[in-house]
Symmetry: C2
């Protein structure tokens, strides 16, 4: 039995793929990259990712990918699932692209998927190896190579799990100052449901790590909303888990 199979154990390259979420105008967006080495099928937008190096683990590889994209050194990230189907590389175009991009014949490739969050107004593409880096609305995702569409699907359920464990990660998606309505719209986008305005205000009034500021919106042609900020120190102090 062992002898029959010993040559069938796979030895494979391993990649990380990063689902980076951003939030703008009430909608969640995802950071996609355009390949430098296009393929004939035109599916040139994909999740940012990389094969992992000898000396690094998957977390380090994901941090490296994110640093290349955003310039941020150690972004918050969460490994959420490995994708290992032999069918991942069933599309010849994808395999052809792998060979060009990595100068290696790669017939099987497993990937470890990461979720990360980013303020959407941040300057991107600092010394990036990609042709283009672009925010793409969730409602308007292109067909992507490999199983990247499926990976994104699963990332969207993962952010809710993550927020349950650590509610503070939500605020990685917002600027330093934000209004109650902005926060509410973010919750609505993440949980795919509407929140009653009054009850939502009560909810945030009970978050002792949300500090109401004196400062208000400017340049709006209606009553200006108060800004809030997220207070890391108070959050860590009062954290139960």
């Amino acid at each position: 039995m062992k002898e029959d199979r010993e040559n069938q154990f796979i030895q494979t390259f391993v990649s990380v793929d990063c689902v980076v979420l951003g939030f703008e105008k009430g909608r969640l967006n995802i950071l996609l990259v355009e390949r430098n080495t296009p393929t004939p099928n035109g599916k040139d937008l994909k999740l940012p990712g990389s094969l992992i190096f000898q000396e690094e683990d998957a977390d380090e590889a994901a941090h490296r990918v994110l640093k290349e994209l955003t310039g941020i050194d150690r972004m918050r990230l969460k490994q959420f699932k490995s994708f290992t189907s032999p069918q991942r590389t069933s599309n010849p175009d994808d395999v052809a692209w792998l060979e060009i991009a990595y100068n290696n014949k790669i017939s099987r490739l497993i990937t470890i998927a990461y979720l990360s969050l980013c303020k959407i107004d941040r300057k991107l593409n600092i010394a990036s190896k990609y042709k283009k880096v672009t925010w793409c609305s969730l409602d308007d995702l292109p067909q992507m190579p490999f199983d990247h569409n499926q990976i994104i699907e699963e990332a969207l359920t993962e952010i809710r799990n993550w927020a349950k464990i650590d509610p503070a990660i939500i605020f990685e998606l917002l600027p330093g100052k934000f209004t109650a309505a902005e926060l509410r719209h973010l919750y609505e986008a993440i949980y795919c449901k509407q929140y009653d305005v009054r009850n939502f205000h009560k909810k945030i009034a009970n978050m002792e790590f949300l500090i109401p500021l004196e400062e208000k919106q400017k340049g709006v042609f209606h009553r200006a909303a108060r800004y809030y900020k997220f207070d890391k120190v108070s959050y860590k102090k009062n954290r139960v888990n």
Copy 2:
């Protein structure tokens, strides 16, 4: 940059390791196996696992490992994390064992960890490839090779996440008939806290998928407790998610 590194991309074997939980006498246990090919350091108990084959994905490999252990064809299981540190194979004993067990020089090995649940009174070791298969109390785990101790740590937080998504998995740990006290002790073991007896009875009275039976305990020298069973059909019917 690409040229500098292209030979540094790892090509690695990939394994699955299965944390199989069982429950008995108020305690969680874990299924460990004893290697057929012992190593000098005596750390011969480990998590059941296997390298994955060419034609299978990680889920299939985990199912195969579990089938070998328990004889059950498609056990409930959940992939919960990949362990990828280059340091996993820093112990020469572990590497030596890998070479013997798999007839391959393996210098790096990533593993995908799975959680599964099993009724502890089930007959084990059907045609198993291991020397011994044994339930080991959580309070009394040995030092294990690789990062298996850490994997078990993380599995124990994972079962709570899993139960939140699908409360029915809890009942995989109990026999077909069980008393309210047994169920309560299982909850206490999983969540590491005490439950008030009266409130717990109210809680299970509200679980419409828990069916109280006429049958009672026999052979106990005190008031006999009623048995309950878990009703899959009613569970699926009333499931919201």
